[in-house]
């Protein structure tokens, strides 16, 4: 439920291209990243964007491969909208919201080729590694798709394999190797969701702005070579977009991608230094 007054205020601000917290339409809130927040996970991170906080933990497992991809590892992404993080989230089966968020994040990672699934094969057709990317909200103030996607990427980048006993064919959980996951770092996907209200487009909404927005388009982009590649898209909400609007959203995304990419690499460099 959204109060009419909230809608009016947000709309007025967005129309003037100056948002209620003073940001421009394409500005993000301050981003704060903390690595290693959960030491049983193979990789973990907390990402804060303004007051929104999402944690991601990577867990590895060993499983049978899918019959149509016998030599490849598997991956699964979940997003828990914890009732701890918002009065609007409830217990019970995962809501459409949480399923959609996880699936969007999953698709970008999968389609970009960021993970080298063939290198996750242990024994062809019999045993492969599976990667569980589990996300959970600690505080919800909007933009969970983008914050979750960023957390997933950062957790994957810092994750390392647990020890695997080839004789017993079991994982020694809690014992970590130095071996990083097989990632094609040049294909790393980054996600930005563009929200629409009236004829204005903006990113990184607060919960209030997101609830008022009429529609959104998420773009998952990577840059493996000189061209930016779009790996996944999703239009959500009731609004319609013109082809021109989508064109200009993609133009903007190329800029945002560059900015986020620099931020991610800087944070990872800092993390590496800290680890040494």
């Amino acid at each position: 439920m959204v109060y009419k007054i909230t809608r009016k205020n947000v709309l007025e601000a967005v129309t003037k291209e100056k948002r209620l917290d003073g940001r421009g339409l394409l500005d993000h809130r301050p981003i704060e990243i903390k690595f290693g927040v959960s030491n049983k996970a193979e990789g973990s991170v907390s990402v804060k964007m303004g007051k929104t906080e999402v944690v991601c933990g990577i867990k590895m497992g060993v499983a049978e491969p899918y019959t149509d991809h016998e030599g490849e590892g598997t991956m699964m992404t979940t997003m828990e909208l914890l009732p701890l993080s918002s009065p609007n989230f409830e217990y019970g089966a995962p809501s459409v919201n949480s399923v959609e968020t996880a699936r969007i994040i999953d698709r970008g990672i999968r389609e970009s080729g960021f993970i080298d699934f063939e290198k996750l094969c242990i024994k062809d057709g019999e045993k492969v590694w599976s990667i569980f990317i589990d996300l959970a909200t600690i505080n919800d103030d909007g933009n969970l798709i983008d914050v979750g996607a960023l957390a997933a990427i950062l957790a994957l980048r810092t994750a390392r394999f647990p020890e695997y006993d080839e004789k017993t064919e079991r994982i020694n959980f809690g014992e970590f190797t130095d071996k990083k996951l097989p990632l094609n770092e040049d294909k790393m996907p980054l996600t930005t969701t563009f929200f629409k209200l009236g004829d204005k487009i903006f990113v990184d909404p607060t919960r209030e702005e997101e609830d008022v927005a009429e529609g959104r388009i998420s773009i998952e982009m990577s840059k493996p070579g000189k061209d930016e590649m779009i790996n996944a898209m999703q239009k959500g909400g009731d609004a319609s977009f013109s082809a021109e609007e989508i064109g200009s959203i993609i133009e903007e995304e190329i800029k945002v991608f560059k900015k986020l990419n620099t931020l991610v690499e800087d944070e990872l460099k800092k993390e590496k230094k800290g680890a040494k």
Partner: protein, 231 residues
């Protein structure tokens, strides 16, 4: 070999390194994080609020609901997200631990939701959860008669130890491991959580309860200091 030295070299009556922080969930009315060694619990309180639907309401007093949940990556082998039999039981015993200290008679028709999430698990998660929840309740300004602190006392082989860690919990030599999570109210000194798994001589139970009392006093100081830091 007898258990003469603890796996992490602590004294028998020593807590693990413990820290606490209030206000970790801005959306909540009250929240706190409690770290007991490698165990990290986050608790958030929403309420007191009107209990809807209306037929759930108790016109004579408020209702306290506790939800305990372990994050899927907080343990060695991933656990499926969502409610389990274990988490349901822990939610209930935590509810019974916390209810006596909240002045529910003053809050008819309302509900207080306490959400506990375990970010990182290394034994004693229900105790860390209770410690965090008590702080979150205080932070939310919920009327309470006193505070509560919880700790898991163990008997490892024949030694009574304070604040059992995972390695001790899995100890198998000699008399093995007994795990006794308990919670003490800060003023009245009453016990509102008590569980036990293992085998302990009946005559040694008093010793275990005494160790718990000592440890909970120390935990209470940590909770109090963290709550004082709130602006």
């Amino acid at each position: 070999m007898a258990y003469t030295k603890r796996s992490d070299e602590r004294k028998m009556n020593e807590l693990r390194p413990t820290s606490a922080k209030v206000g970790v969930v801005p959306n909540a009315d009250g929240s706190a994080m409690f770290c007991q060694g490698d165990t990290i619990a986050i608790a958030a309180v929403y309420g007191p609020k009107i209990f809807n639907p209306k037929h759930f309401q108790n016109p004579e007093k408020g209702v306290l609901r506790v939800h305990y949940n372990m994050l899927s990556f907080s343990v060695g082998e991933r656990i499926r997200p969502g409610v389990s039999r274990r988490s349901q039981e822990i939610s209930k015993v935590t509810e019974w631990a916390l209810t006596p200290l909240v002045l529910l008679d003053e809050l008819p028709g309302t509900v207080i939701d306490v959400h506990i999430n375990i970010l990182q698990a290394n034994a004693g998660t229900r105790c860390a959860g209770i410690n965090a929840a008590a702080m979150a309740l205080a932070h939310a300004g919920v009327p309470m008669t006193e505070m509560i602190s919880a700790v898991a006392i163990g008997k490892i082989d024949d030694k009574i130890v304070t604040d059992v860690n995972k390695e001790e919990e899995d100890y198998e030599d000699g008399e093995g491991a007994t795990d006794i999570p308990m919670a003490y109210l800060s003023n009245s000194g009453k016990i509102t959580l008590l569980q036990l798994d293992g085998k302990i001589q009946a005559k040694r139970m008093k010793e275990a309860l005494e160790a718990g009392k000592e440890a909970c006093k120390k935990i209470f100081e940590i909770q109090k200091n963290a709550l004082k830091e709130v602006e």
